[in-house]
Symmetry: C2
Subunit: 223 residues, 2 copies
């Protein structure tokens, strides 16, 4: 298949078994969802069984950095495997509850990206420092410039996984419920209930001499 | 170990490798997080590699029902395995961004439950109907009574996984950033940025004769 730089290549692993019209491989759209999501869920395999844990991430071009601690199981698995450890990383943004006349057509409007691949430990000190600053800036843009970077001991206690964005798929649903024609006459309300992630006013730590929050936190919003 | 009905048994799989003081096995606290979360992330293993996908769930006592379609890979894996398919289900509620003076102590306040175990397909028709109504009511309490239940064909197209709540762990962080003493004098702001999931006004489907939303959607909030 010829490489189209605006899209990730569709592979067997990134092809849904159903609802394929909800899938997209568009690079910019996948990046936007990865960038908007505050956190992700990381899946890996231990003794043949799956483990899913929440963690934080940052996208840097076509690389996804995933935060761990150096004591975490997945970090130890990655450290022990030169070729990397198979992982699956999912982020999901819920936009609305979809309430149909039929229970069958109940759904959610959402945007979800799953990335598959082999994650390697970032061992280069400079890349690890860059990746950790990216993770901090992912959570709060501009924050890495207004906080103290990790020292040698802190960087040693932190693990960063490097997952190339090669096998990635966006799944999404938008719009109103899609009830079957005969159900439209049923006496049930149908429509959407919008869901949003919102951010409150910054709450300063009690020891601060000046509690006024910095510009990168007032009016905080996701990219 | 004697069984304490107020707690799930701690097992090797549910024991974190780090930050064990953030882990809890308290049944009521685990139930509350599973009930509040709108959606979950389901992990399973295909050809030795993990797959993580978002889906919806409902807790019914000490059983977690997880929604799938009968064509989904995990449903086919479960159908092919009498003893069930190994899964990991995680739900995560983010409560605040934790902004410390040091990048190392940046964190999130969150409540996250991970459930491990073997999921079986619900094959009994009555249990499947009950489980699907529970999933609908999980998303919008009271909704199953105000929508059309699935007919035979719809129920056949839907798969429900049954995962016993036996190995479950809650991990959580609360409170202000925990900077090291020497960092408290740094000129960086520190504190929390609260994160909330909020719900907008119901948006009626265009075909409705009466667009006024029902009581179970006005003033909607999670349990």
């Amino acid at each position: 298949m010829a490489t189209d730089p605006s899209h990730y290549e569709q592979t067997r692993r990134t092809t849904p078994t159903r609802l394929r019209d909800r899938a997209s491989y568009e690079r910019a759209a996948i990046h936007a969802v990865l960038d908007e999501a505050i956190h992700c869920h990381l899946g890996y395999v231990v003794d043949g069984a799956p483990v899913v844990v929440p963690t934080i991430h940052a996208r840097h071009g076509d690389v996804l950095y995933v935060h761990a601690s150096s004591g975490a199981r997945v970090a130890r698995l990655a450290a022990a495997a030169d070729e990397g450890v198979p992982v699956s990383v999912a982020v999901t943004l819920v936009d609305a509850l979809v309430l149909a006349r039929s229970q069958f057509h109940h759904s959610m409007n959402y945007r979800s990206v799953t990335v598959h691949g082999r994650a390697r430990l970032v061992t280069d000190a400079a890349e690890r420092a860059t990746a950790l600053a990216a993770v901090v800036d992912h959570v709060a843009p501009g924050r890495s410039a207004e906080s103290r970077p990790g020292d040698r001991q802190e960087l040693a206690a932190t693990a960063v996984l490097r997952l190339p964005l090669e096998q990635a798929v966006l799944k999404q649903r938008t719009g109103m419920p899609k009830d079957d024609e005969p159900d439209l006459a049923l006496p049930h309300w149908a429509g959407l209930l919008p869901v949003r992630t919102t951010f409150g006013a910054p709450e300063p730590a009690p020891e601060l001499a000046d509690p006024a929050p910095p510009a990168h936190l007032t009016g905080y919003r996701r990219p």
